[in-house]
């Protein structure tokens, strides 16, 4: 029983991280209709910025995380302005290819020997140690991840549902032309959405970085997973991204535990193939 609880706990922490990354991706897709392949690059960059803030600025974990979130948010907004905004009317493969170019660039830049180099980096846990709850061993780091991701998700939900700026994002993802007709500045919303998605990716990366190592290629795997998640949940759907994230995390953790750890990464994709074969539009979207 306690092993099951233990795995459940791990899956919750992993799902929280997946959800944060996937939410940014799905928001951007909803508003801009761009599958941002560079999202994994932003995620990776977030981890490195936190690492850099911790080692060279010698600040605490929380300021480092915030600095990294702001940095990645600014970069993402810049990306929207310089690349995706001019390409908004191009054939839809063009922004995709441009995003791949950005991903390439970020990865090559970070792994360049004069920047961070190809070797992995380690970030110390801000809250080391474990707690014992009724026979289940929990690390503080994982508890922190769960708490932080729930907090961020609640905040995001409040922002989208209860504030006017948040409502403009929802409006634009529902109907771009309609949003413009009622006087929403779609340019500003586009930039804002990219910034939020960058910040979410950076927060997620910084939270999981103390558990996993920080490497230039960490974004690639995450990229695939969050894309799998938002296809599962229906591209552009916010609740879909959250449910998809936890679904993938649970399948991976329990599949890795009961079947084979080697293929934990593949299990998620196998699930995706099955779902797409049955419901091509994703789990949470009505037919296209």
């Amino acid at each position: 029983m306690s092993t099951v609880l233990q795995q459940l706990f791990n899956a919750l922490a992993l799902g929280g991280v997946y959800a944060l990354v996937a939410l940014g991706l799905t928001l951007v897709y909803g508003v801009m209709r761009v599958p941002n392949f560079a999202h994994g690059g932003l995620y990776m960059l977030g981890a490195y910025l936190t690492y850099a803030a911790l080692t060279s600025l010698k600040v605490g974990f929380l300021p480092a995380l915030l600095l990294s979130a702001v940095g990645v948010a600014l970069l993402a907004a810049l990306m929207e302005r310089v690349i995706f905004h001019p390409l908004r009317n191009a054939p839809h493969v063009h922004p995709m290819i441009a995003a791949i170019g950005v991903l390439f660039f970020l990865e090559a830049l970070i792994s360049h020997p004069k920047v961070f180099g190809p070797d992995f980096k380690q970030i110390a846990e801000p809250l080391p140690g474990i707690v014992n709850l009724g026979g289940v061993t929990l690390t503080w780091q994982r508890l922190l991840i769960i708490a932080a991701s729930v907090l961020v998700m609640l905040g995001l939900n409040y922002f989208l549902k209860r504030t006017l700026t948040g409502a403009t994002i929802e409006a634009m993802s529902q109907n771009r032309e309609g949003a413009r007709l009622v006087g929403i500045n779609t340019n500003r919303v586009g930039m804002l959405t990219f910034a939020i998605s960058g910040a979410l990716a950076a927060v997620a990366a910084s939270l999981i970085a103390p558990i996993n190592a920080v490497t230039p290629s960490m974004g690639e795997v995450m990229n695939l997973k969050v894309f799998a998640i938002i296809i599962l949940g229906g591209m552009g759907s916010v609740p879909g991204a959250i449910v998809g994230a936890f679904l993938l995390a649970f399948t991976e953790v329990f599949g890795g535990f009961y079947i084979s750890l080697d293929f934990a990464d593949v299990i998620g994709f196998a699930m995706l193939v099955v779902v797409l074969a049955l419901r091509p539009q994703g789990l949470f979207r009505k037919g296209t």
């Binding site: 897709y29 493969v93 995709m96 290819i97 950005v102 660039f105 990865e107 296809i231 994709f269 193939v273």
Partner: protein
């Protein structure tokens, strides 16, 4: 006139190994032709059909590993293993298409990217069959190629060059014929708009499947050639980086054109060879290049050429108008 350019080009290229060029030059030539075949495969999907598949290196890998495993472990002749690799790549493409074409547009690209990663992962983890991390070493040269090359006064490298040239010529011919056929026109219609194509009576699903099979068969063709030429196979070459690099070749040359894939591959491949000292900076340059291309020159070199040619008669017409007034 333009009908004669391609045959003339191939005849000229076929003379090259007889001029006793350096082994390095021949190697660059073989590599350009080999990767160009893969770029032609990608072009069938992206250039003609307007869909971006991101698993092409995986199909290249299926062709390469099938050829490698059959010749190395099952003792098949290369001349049988190569077609088997092509057939398997096309079959895998068909299977992928059956599922992937249920999704549209963006989801299709993401889905194929995932499948590409699965292919690489399976190749990397299936130690007994593919050699896993160590890869496959010592894939033999095609039987009889050395003897045949010697008979016409060439070394084995010259023979490989001619084999690659023949493969490329076949590929260009297939690409040209496919494009001019009603099949190719249907693909262009799909690129213009799936719903429109469907209402014009094009069976979109079947045509996409056929395009996918042709495209992945070409990837397998390139893969088999790569296996026997390089002689060593590692799982890294089947990964997304290869797909992205070939995507860059194709974009530089020009999407949907006949000369584009060859032009782009030749230019970028030889550039990376001459700028070897800048290896660390390679993708730092390639990434922004990809972005700039789609933003400012989405039709690549071939597109620029076409625009220049189209601009000329327009200017002539204008002067006439002025003189008439």
């Amino acid at each position: 006139m333009s009908r004669l350019i391609w045959p003339a080009l191939f005849v000229l290229a076929a003379v090259v190994p007889f001029l006793q060029p350096s082994g390095y030059l021949l190697d660059v030539g073989v590599n350009i032709m080999l990767w160009a075949v893969l770029a032609y495969g990608l072009n069938v999907m992206l250039g003609y059909t307007g869909l971006l598949p991101l698993a092409h290196a995986g199909f290249f890998g299926i062709g390469a590993y099938t050829t490698g495993i059959l010749t190395l472990k099952a003792g098949w002749s290369f001349w049988l293993a190569w077609p088997a690799g092509i057939a398997l790549a096309a079959l895998a493409g068909l299977l992928l298409g059956l599922v992937a074409f249920r999704t549209r547009g963006d989801a299709f690209s993401i889905f194929t990217l995932g499948v590409g990663v699965i292919i690489t992962l399976v190749i990397n983890k299936w130690d007994d069959l593919t050699g896993g991390n160590d890869g496959l070493n010592g894939v033999p040269a095609p039987a009889g190629l050395e003897e045949a090359s010697r008979a016409i006064g060439l070394k084995l490298s010259g023979g490989f060059y001619l084999l690659a040239l023949l493969t490329l010529a076949l590929t260009v011919m297939i690409a040209a014929r496919a494009r001019a056929s009603s099949f190719g026109l249907s693909l262009l219609a799909i690129r213009g708009g799936e719903d429109l194509a469907r209402s014009a009576g094009v069976n979109v699903y079947t045509h996409k499947l056929r395009a996918m099979m042709l495209s992945t068969a070409l990837a397998g063709l390139a893969g088999g050639l790569y296996a026997t030429y390089v002689g060593f196979l590692g799982s890294a070459v089947t990964g997304p980086t290869t797909t992205f690099t070939v995507l860059l070749y194709l974009l530089v040359g020009g999407l949907g054109t006949l000369a584009g894939p060859l032009l782009g591959t030749a230019l970028i491949y030889s550039l990376t060879q001459t700028l070897k000292g800048l290896q660390d900076y390679q993708y730092i340059v390639f990434g922004p290049l990809l972005v700039l291309l789609v933003m400012y020159a989405p039709h690549g070199l071939a597109g620029l050429w076409a625009r220049l040619r189209a601009a000329r008669p327009a200017r002539a017409a204008k002067t006439k108008e002025v003189s008439g007034a």
